[in-house]
């Protein structure tokens, strides 16, 4: 069952084209990765998907309903179906962790205050933050903030989760813990997950499917699971990214090949 369908999406910042021809589908219960190097438009694509930024062209369809063609009420109804973990966790700093997790429940459900608090505490226990419910975000470490953000995203059990670089800036143990949590959430709730990442261990560990955006050609250059792309995709950029090989050389404007990244340029004038 297709939960999310993206068709012919074009992303621009003013007149500057970021990506064009972005199309993919996300099925129920799958974990879908948006891959690519820095600056290729991964996070911008996510903003188009969650309704923060209208695309220059193309459609984003949830359960057959075009999000950007819907009116305000229609968009509000669709928004109930997804949760979002931001790259910085984006916890509201004036609220405790418990209040942060209660907010989506207050906004999207008819639960009483006691029911909301009980559900929020349950979700916080799930992400191992039960003892930190009354702490403020500034009192938590980076990994704890990410887990609190994840708890907020899943509080209403949305069928679709968006995660923006969930492992970025975390140590390998915290990163693996978060990956395990994402797999656990998929297992328990059956939610589909769309996540942006360029962390290879996370990509290989949890993604079932994905799309690879290229900053140079400004369109997707590969589609498939990260491990399948690593093993079988013959595009040099994809292979270099996923197999951590030397990236393909790009011609400079005067036709000369750029200096390989492993070689320091000779500089006679440099001082020690």
């Amino acid at each position: 069952m297709t939960l999310l369908a993206v068709d012919g999406l074009e992303m621009r910042f003013g007149d500057r084209l970021i990506q064009t021809g972005v199309s993919f589908k996300v099925e129920k219960g799958t974990i879908f990765a948006i891959m690519g190097g820095s600056g290729c438009g991964k996070s911008t694509l996510l903003k188009h998907l969650v309704g923060l930024l209208p695309p220059a062209a193309g459609n984003v369809t949830y359960n057959g309903v075009d999000y950007w063609a819907a009116d305000d009420d229609g968009q509000a109804r669709l928004r109930k179906d997804f949760g979002m973990l931001f790259q910085s966790a984006a916890l509201w700093s004036s609220m405790t962790i418990l209040e942060n997790v209660c907010m989506p429940l207050e906004q999207h459900t008819t639960k009483t205050e006691a029911e909301r608090e009980a559900r929020a505490r349950e979700v916080l226990e799930w992400v191992d933050l039960g003892k930190f419910a009354d702490f403020y975000p500034s009192d938590l470490s980076g990994g704890m903030k990410k887990r609190a953000g994840l708890a907020r995203a899943i509080a209403t059990e949305p069928p679709l989760l968006f995660l923006d670089e969930p492992s970025a800036g975390l140590d390998p143990i915290s990163s693996k813990r978060l990956d395990d949590l994402v797999l656990d959430i998929r297992e328990r709730t059956g939610a589909a997950v769309v996540f942006v990442s360029h962390e290879l261990p996370s990509l290989f560990a949890i993604a079932d499917d994905g799309i690879f955006l290229d900053a140079d050609s400004k369109h997707p250059i590969a589609h498939g699971s990260p491990s399948a792309l690593r093993d079988s995709c013959d595009h040099p950029t994809v292979h270099a990214f996923l197999a951590r090989e030397e990236p393909p050389a790009r011609d400079t404007q005067d036709g000369a090949k750029p200096v390989p990244s492993t070689t320091m340029p000779a500089d006679d004038t440099a001082t020690p």
């Binding site: 903003k47 309704g51 923060l52 928004r79 984006a90 509201w92 700093s93 907010m103 906004q107």
Partner: protein, 254 residues
């Protein structure tokens, strides 16, 4: 059509959003938390009292010093109470309190919202379907709208007190005589004008602070720029609006 092109689109849109959200709030459809409104109101009131006290007492005292030196030459020292009373009630209490609040609370609003923007907290609200204007701007503007007139009244009292201390010390005018003269000099139009100004200044400071915070660039420098712009724009706006009030009051004979 040509006039429309001259309008600054973003500020006008923001003003429209605030007015629409305020209308919704009056019909019971507010999205902000009452706890946040309480926190912000406390910050705009009790915590602002010490600095409002100091500044207004000193301004009242300065006015009395200047007035006393000149009026004594004409044997009209007692009229220092008129000078201080009218100047404080019509102009100084409202302006000085507004300038203090622009530097204190307006800057705090801009910095807080700009930091929230940089940390994606505003995006997180919008993904949840909450309007940033309704959730963040409205309680801040409402808090200042309510508290600025109260701070103005308090500023009047402290300004008059500053003038009374100087008049008493320099001219040997008894507090009772000073108060009596002040009450004779003041009428409701002076207080009404100052009160109306403080209300408008409160709205201006709240909206300007929130506007620059909400539209700040998403980095540390953006927070600094937003704060500076909020304070400078608020202070210039206060002076411009005060001039407009002066012209209107003159035309209406107030």
């Amino acid at each position: 059509m040509q006039f429309a092109a001259l309008l600054p689109v973003r500020p006008v849109t923001f003003l429209g959003q605030v007015l629409i959200s305020a209308g919704e709030a009056f019909t019971g459809r507010w999205q902000f938390r009452l706890k946040d409104l309480g926190r912000i109101t406390a910050d705009c009131s009790g915590r602002a009292v010490p600095i409002v006290t100091v500044v207004n007492v000193l301004v009242g005292a300065i006015l009395a010093f200047v007035g006393a030196v000149q009026l004594v030459k004409f044997g009209a020292g007692i009229y220092v109470a008129d000078l201080v009373g009218i100047a404080v009630a019509r102009e100084m209490a409202a302006i000085i309190t507004a300038v203090v609040m622009a530097g204190r609370t307006g800057a705090a609003f801009a910095a807080e919202l700009a930091t929230m923007q940089a940390n994606e907290e505003v995006d997180a609200l919008e993904v949840l379907g909450l309007s940033a204007v309704n959730f963040l701007v409205l309680p801040r503007v409402a808090a200042l709208l309510v508290m600025m007139p109260l701070l103005y009244i308090y500023g009047c009292v402290t300004g008059l007190l500053g003038g009374m201390v100087v008049a008493s010390g320099m001219l040997n005018i008894s507090p009772a005589a000073y108060l009596d003269r002040t009450l004779l000099a003041l009428d409701w139009s002076h207080l009404g004008l100052g009160f109306a100004k403080s209300f408008v200044f409160g709205a201006l400071i709240g909206m300007v602070g929130c506007y620059f915070g909400l539209y700040a660039q998403r980095n540390a420098a953006g927070v600094g720029v937003a704060t500076t712009n909020a304070v400078v724009t608020s202070i210039v706006g206060i002076i411009v609006l005060d001039a407009v009030f002066a012209i209107c009051a003159n035309a209406l004979g107030i």
